[in-house]
């Protein structure tokens, strides 16, 4: 998996977990704008991302995310990309 693959894969995970095929976002989208990403779905997202990207998040790494790019950077760092 390359760094370029992260965003499309994340989008696929997001659409599957949040059950909305019409979700669209890019790296600059703030998480607040993804309405379905609420606290109940957050943990589903975390578990699914860990499975798909084969990484393990620490809570502290996810607490200050503002835009999608922050999450992509975090995943890239954990995967050593």
């Amino acid at each position: 998996m390359t760094r370029d693959d992260l965003l499309p894969t994340l989008l696929t995970v997001c659409r599957d977990v949040l059950d909305d095929d019409e979700i669209v976002f890019d790296a600059q989208t703030p998480f607040e704008a993804i309405e379905e990403w609420d606290s109940l779905n957050h943990i589903h997202m975390v578990v699914n991302m860990e499975k798909i990207f084969d990484v393990r998040f620490e809570a502290a790494e996810l607490q200050n995310l503002i835009i999608v790019q922050d999450l992509l950077d975090c995943i890239a760092r954990l995967k050593g990309l």
Partner: protein, 515 residues
């Protein structure tokens, strides 16, 4: 000093005049602090002392943790050599012996990139102990002592010593104050260097009594520079105050009579149902009205506060409801309880979410007050959210099958609203016995027997509340009025003014003042 009093009106007007004549941020901050302490002193001198002393303690602890964090760079190597601290690179710095769930939560929350000393941990526990101790002392002791005596079969001796006054708004500003240390600990912000600014944050008079519950990292940066006059922001403040007064005086105070008449012991099914609808309108208009006024008053001084309500009765499910109802409390509980717990337990799958949900609502119930009714109310919501989690896959199928139909979304909204009303049955009742009595009436009561009440009042209150919520949801902003034409705005302002003046009465207490 309630918002709806001549005393407050004069105070706010004079403070505002002086505030906007200041040419330095420090002078503006001085006025905000002075005004806030004055309001606190008017409420009670005891509250003033408790707020100042406990904020000083919190500020010192947050500073101490922060200083030690800075010094960790120098300390870590020495401590590592002493074997008392495992440093970064993915290893835990919490000893394995406290691998309790709470310890695990702390360990996961600390992250892998920071180091913490035993002194820092002790300071965090000191902060938590002081805040929770203060909260339980003032909010729960008078309930727990008689309950314990009853449970242990002890004689109900005089409990006069428990009848001390509860400092105003303690539930709100305690949570607000806790974020000072927690956010430093979590690395979200550094400790505020100025004690006066910290005290202004905790004691800020618009949101002191009933929120919104602010965060230091949102509020404190607003005090950093001179606030410049902005007529648009000032108008928005006036609008929020006006709509808040309208909701409180015109809606909440009028529909309260309907709720009281309908929710009497022994009421019929229809009476309980209508009573719950009336109470839903009352509590929303009362609390959202106060929050709007608080945000409006803060805006007059160029300060932005958290938006607490966002059309909650139009929520599509219970999770959506909690994003829209008392959002400042929900996000606090999410950030400091639900998310850390669900992250810590995530390897347990769905169970982790269910446990974290119940723990969060248990905390919410305790926050709201003493008495078993609050715990049952919290359980109703925890059960509702658990059903959402457990039926996630099934709801996907429903949505695929019926989601495109015209009735699916309204049906979900109505279902959510009535689940919330079920919770109100316990939230409002003075005892579990009365709440269960109403519940029994709902199921097998005499359907059509109604007490004397005016149904027109309920209809006239429901229409503007739902119209306002619809407008807020549609335009995604509480300032939708500014998008309308001048004619519409003028007519709307006149109607609002007439309604307020016609129905004004010396204000009763706000429901959320008791918290």
């Amino acid at each position: 000093m309630p918002f709806l009093s001549l005393h407050f009106l004069l105070f706010a007007a004079l403070l505002c005049l002086a505030y906007w004549r200041c040419s330095k941020a420090s002078a503006q901050n001085f006025l905000l602090l002075g005004g806030s302490l004055y309001v606190l002193a008017v409420w009670s001198l005891q509250a003033l002392v408790v707020v100042v002393v406990s904020t000083l303690a919190e500020w010192l602890i947050a500073r101490a943790i922060d200083c030690r964090k800075v010094r960790n760079g120098e300390w870590s190597e020495r401590l590592r050599r002493q074997g008392s601290l495992a440093t970064t690179h993915g290893r835990s710095i919490i000893p394995a012996r406290i691998a309790t769930p709470f310890g695990k939560v702390l360990r996961l929350t600390l992250g892998r990139h920071r180091t913490f000393t035993p002194e820092q941990r002790a300071l965090l526990f000191l902060s938590l102990g002081l805040n929770l101790g203060q909260f339980f002392l003032f909010r729960h002791l008078h309930f727990l002592v008689p309950e314990l005596k009853h449970a242990l079969g002890l004689a109900p001796a005089s409990a006069a010593w428990l009848n001390f006054a509860i400092p105003v708004g303690i539930s709100f500003w305690t949570l607000q104050k806790m974020t000072l240390t927690l956010d430093v600990w979590l690395g979200r912000t550094s400790a505020e260097r100025s004690f006066p600014k910290t005290l202004t944050f905790v004691a800020f008079f618009p949101n002191l009594v009933s929120g919104p519950i602010e965060r230091g990292r949102h509020f404190l940066p607003q005090l950093a520079s001179l606030r410049r006059w902005d007529s648009r922001r000032f108008s928005e403040g006036i609008w929020l105050i006006a709509i808040g007064i309208f909701q409180k005086i015109v809606i909440a105070d009028n529909v309260a009579d309907c709720a009281d008449a309908l929710l009497q012991p022994g009421a019929s099914s229809l009476s309980v149902l209508l009573g719950l609808w009336a109470y839903a309108l009352q509590i929303y208009a009362d609390f959202a009205g106060y929050s709007d006024m608080a945000r409006g008053v803060a805006r007059l001084f160029g300060i932005d506060l958290f938006q607490n309500f966002d059309a909650p009765y139009l929520a599509s499910n219970l999770s959506d409801f909690w994003k829209r109802w008392h959002a400042s409390l929900t996000s606090w509980l999410n950030d400091y309880i639900f998310n850390p717990l669900s992250m810590a337990w995530r390897d347990w799958g769905t169970t982790s979410i269910l446990l974290a949900t119940f723990a969060t609502f248990l905390a919410s119930g305790l926050w709201h007050g003493t008495g078993w009714t609050y715990m049952v109310w919290a359980s109703v919501h925890a059960i509702g959210l658990s059903i959402l989690v457990l039926t996630k896959d099934r709801r996907k199928t429903w949505k695929k099958r019926w989601g495109k139909t015209r009735w699916y979304d309204p049906a979900m909204t109505i279902l959510t609203f009535h689940w919330v009303c079920l919770g109100y049955l316990f939230f409002r009742a003075p005892s579990l016995q009365e709440a269960f009595g109403h519940m029994a009436s709902l199921v097998h009561g005499d359907w059509f027997r109604l007490p004397s009440f005016d149904p027109h009042v309920m209809i006239l209150c429901a229409l503007p509340i739902f119209a306002l919520q619809y407008q807020i949801k549609k335009s995604r902003s509480p300032f939708w009025i500014f998008e309308k034409s001048v004619t519409f705005r003028t007519v709307f302002y006149i109607l609002l003014g007439v309604a307020i003046l016609r129905l004004y009465s010396p204000a009763e207490k706000f429901i959320y003042f008791q918290f």
